[in-house]
Amino acid sequence: MGAYVLRRLGYGVGVVLGVLFLLFLLFFTITAPEDIARKALGDKAPPEAIQTWLENHEYDRPLWPWQDWDENLLFDHYRKMLTFDFGVSDADDSPIIDRIKAGMGPSLSLTVPLLVLGLLVSIPLSLLVAFFRETYIDRMGVFLCVLAMSVSTLLYIIGAQFLIGKVLRWYPISGFDASLAMLPRFLALPVLVGLISGVGGDVRFYRTVFLEESSRDFVRTARAKGAGEARIMVFHVLRNAMIPILTRVVLAIPFLFMGALLLEAFFGIPGLGSMTVDAIQSNDFSTMRTMVYIGSLLFVFGQVATDISYGLVDPRVSVE
C-alpha cells in the first residue's frame, strides 16, 4: 500500500509542477509584468513609477533561466509557490497569505454544510427514483432534475434573494456574522440556494449509478435467491454504487476550501471565493495566480485521496 501511495503522490507532484509551468506561461508570458503594472497604476503612469512598482513586486527580472540563471522570474515563481510565499496582492499590496487564512473559515462554514446536506438529500432521492425506475415517478424525477439543472445558478441566487429575502423577509439577503448564534441565519439562504441548484445534477448522477448497478447479473442472482426489491436496492446495489459515489465526494472535498464563488460573492460571505471575485474585478493577477495554484493543489490532493480511498473501499482494487 505504501508504494502505491508514494507512486500516486509522485505523479501528483509532477502534475503540480506542470500546473505551475502553465500558470507561469499564462501570467508572465501572455501578459508581461509591465502590463500588470500599468493595470495597477493606470495607463498614464510615467515609466519611473512603473519601474518602481516592478522593483517593489520583484517583477523586474528577465523571464527565463537562460537569460539570467540567478535571477529570473521562472525560478522565482517556482520557489515562491512551492514554499507558499505568495507575496502581496497586485491590487492593494496586502499579504495574500493573511487573506487566505482569514477566508478559509467562512468558506468552510458554507461549503461543509452544503456538502453534507447535499448528500443527505440527493442520495435518498435518487434511491427512490431508481427504485421506481420506468414508472412515472422515475420519469417525473428525471424531468424535474433536467429542469432544475437548466436554470442558471445566477437565477437561483437572484430569485432566492428576491423572493425569500425581500418579499418574504425570512432571512437576510446577504452578510456574515461569525458568531455561532447568528451564523445559521446568514448561511441559511446561501446553503438553501446551493442545495437547490445542485440537487438536480446530483440526483441524475446518482440515479444513473444506481440504475447501472441494478442491471448487473448479481442482482438477478439475488432475485433468484428470493430477495425482495428493497433489500436488493439497499444491500446489493447501494454497496456497489458507493464506489463511484465516494469518488465524487472525495473529489469535492478540496473545493470545500475554495468556497462556492458565486454564493459567497452574492451573499457577502468573506471567504476565499469572494476573495477570488475581488481579484478578478480589480485585475489582481498575483492573487488570481495564487488562487488557481491553490485550487490545483487541492484538486491533485483530492485525486490522490480518491485513488487511495478506492483501494480501501473496493475489494477488487489490489494496491500492490
Binding site: D217, R223, N240, R316
Partner: protein
C-alpha cells in the same frame, strides 16, 4: 402429477410492432428427482423459458400467457411475496457466468448465508456454519478460509461451486441450471458436471438443465427436450433421442457433432441461420432449413405427435411417414 408442469408458456418482449414472442407455447413436465435437459441453439428461447418459470424475465419482457404449476400450485398468478419464497426456497437457479453473478463487494460466505437466511430464521453464526458445510459438500477446499473470500479471489470453477452451494442451501426441490458449464474450462466443466450428478443423486433433486451442448446432455439428462425458435420440436428420453432422433433438426444437430463424423470428410452442418424472433417463418419454423420440407410445412405449424410412449415430436414429415407406416 409431475413436480413441475409447464403448459403453453408464452413470453414476449415489446417491440416496434407490438409484442414479439420469444417463448411461443412451450409445454413440458419435470418429474421428481429426474433431470430434464432443455436443448437448443442461442436464440431458441431456452433460457427465457427457464427464467419465465421463476417470473424472472427481465423487463420490459413478460410472461404473456400459460401455466406453470409447482406441485399443483399455479406460480404465474402468485402474489410477489409468495413467489419470493419459492425463489431460492423451493426452486433454486444457477446461471451461466459465475464471474458476474456474485456480488463483487460482499464475501462469498455472506452471500451463501444470505440465501439461507432469506428462507429460514437462524442466527448468523448458524447460517455461517451451514454455509461451511455446503462448501465442503460442493468440494471447495479450505472451506473456512474461503467463506471470507471475495468473488474475485476465486477461480471460475470455484465460483460456480459457490453458486451451486448457494442454490442448494435451502434444499430446493428443483434446481434450474442455465448453461452451468459454458463459461468454464473443459476440465473444470467435467468436475462441475460430476458434482451436479452427485448432488442430484444424493438429494434426489429435480434438475432443469439448459444447455446447447449435447455432450452434457448425454452425461446428465434423463429426458431431453429440443427447442427451436421459441417452440419445442422434439422431446424424448435420452437414450431414444440420441440413438433414434425423429425431428430433422435433432438429426441435424446430432450429425454435426465432430466426434460422430468421419475424419477427413467435411463436417456436416445445417444450412442457414436461426431466424430471430421478428423473422420467424409462418408454419413450421424450421421449414426454411429443413431437408425434409414439403407442402404443409410452410403453411401451418405441425401438431404434436406421440409416435411412441413418452416421445413427442412436432413434424409434418414424421406424421406423414407414420401415416404411411400405418396404412
Amino acid at each position: 402429477m409431475a413436480l413441475l408442469e409447464v403448459r403453453d408458456l408464452r413470453t414476449a418482449f415489446p417491440s416496434k410492432s407490438g409484442m414479439t414472442p420469444v417463448v411461443d407455447g412451450v409445454s413440458f413436465d419435470l418429474e421428481r428427482g429426474k433431470v430434464l435437459a432443455l436443448v437448443g441453439e442461442s436464440g431458441s428461447g431456452k433460457s427465457m423459458t427457464a427464467l419465465s418459470t421463476l417470473r424472472l424475465v427481465p423487463k420490459p419482457g413478460r410472461v404473456t400467457s400459460g401455466s406453470v404449476k409447482l406441485d399443483g400450485e399455479e406460480l404465474l398468478s402468485l402474489p410477489v411475496t409468495e413467489m419470493r419464497r419459492i425463489r431460492g426456497g423451493r426452486i433454486g437457479m444457477i446461471f451461466q457466468e459465475p464471474m458476474t453473478c456474485l456480488n463483487p463487494v460482499v464475501r462469498v460466505g455472506a452471500q451463501v448465508a444470505e440465501a439461507i437466511l432469506l428462507h429460514e430464521s437462524m442466527s448468523k453464526a448458524d447460517a455461517r456454519s451451514r454455509a461451511r458445510e455446503l462448501f465442503v459438500e460442493v468440494g471447495i477446499p479450505d472451506p473456512e478460509e474461503r467463506l471470507d473470500a471475495y468473488p474475485h479471489h476465486l477461480s471460475g470453477g470455484l465460483k460456480q461451486r459457490v453458486m451451486i452451494a448457494m442454490a442448494l442451501s435451502t434444499r430446493p426441490e428443483i434446481l434450474i441450471a442455465d448453461e452451468p458449464t459454458t463459461a468454464l474450462d473443459v476440465t473444470v466443466q467435467a468436475q462441475i458436471l460430476d458434482l451436479l450428478r452427485d448432488l442430484q443423486q444424493k438429494r434426489n433433486a429435480a434438475i432443469l438443465l439448459i444447455t446447447h451442448d449435447l455432450g452434457i446432455v448425454n452425461e446428465l439428462a434423463d429426458r431431453v427436450a429440443v427447442m427451436y425458435a421459441g417452440r419445442l420440436v422434439e422431446m424424448a428420453d435420452r437414450v431414444s433421442l440420441l440413438s433414434d432422433p425423429l425431428h430433422p433438426y435433432t438429426q441435424g444437430l446430432l450429425r454435426s457433432i465432430p466426434a460422430l463424423s468421419a475424419p477427413g470428410e467435411p463436417l456436416p452442418e445445417i444450412p442457414g441461420v436461426v431466424p430471430s424472433p421478428d423473422q420467424w417463418p409462418v408454419g413450421c419454423r424450421f421449414s426454411t432449413r429443413c431437408p425434409k420440407r414439403f407442402e404443409p410445412c410452410a403453411d401451418q405449424f405441425p401438431a404434436e405427435l406421440n409416435p411412441k410412449l413418452g416421445r413427442r415430436v412436432w413434424c409434418h414429415a414424421v406424421a406423414e411417414s407414420a401415416r404411411e407406416g400405418a396404412s
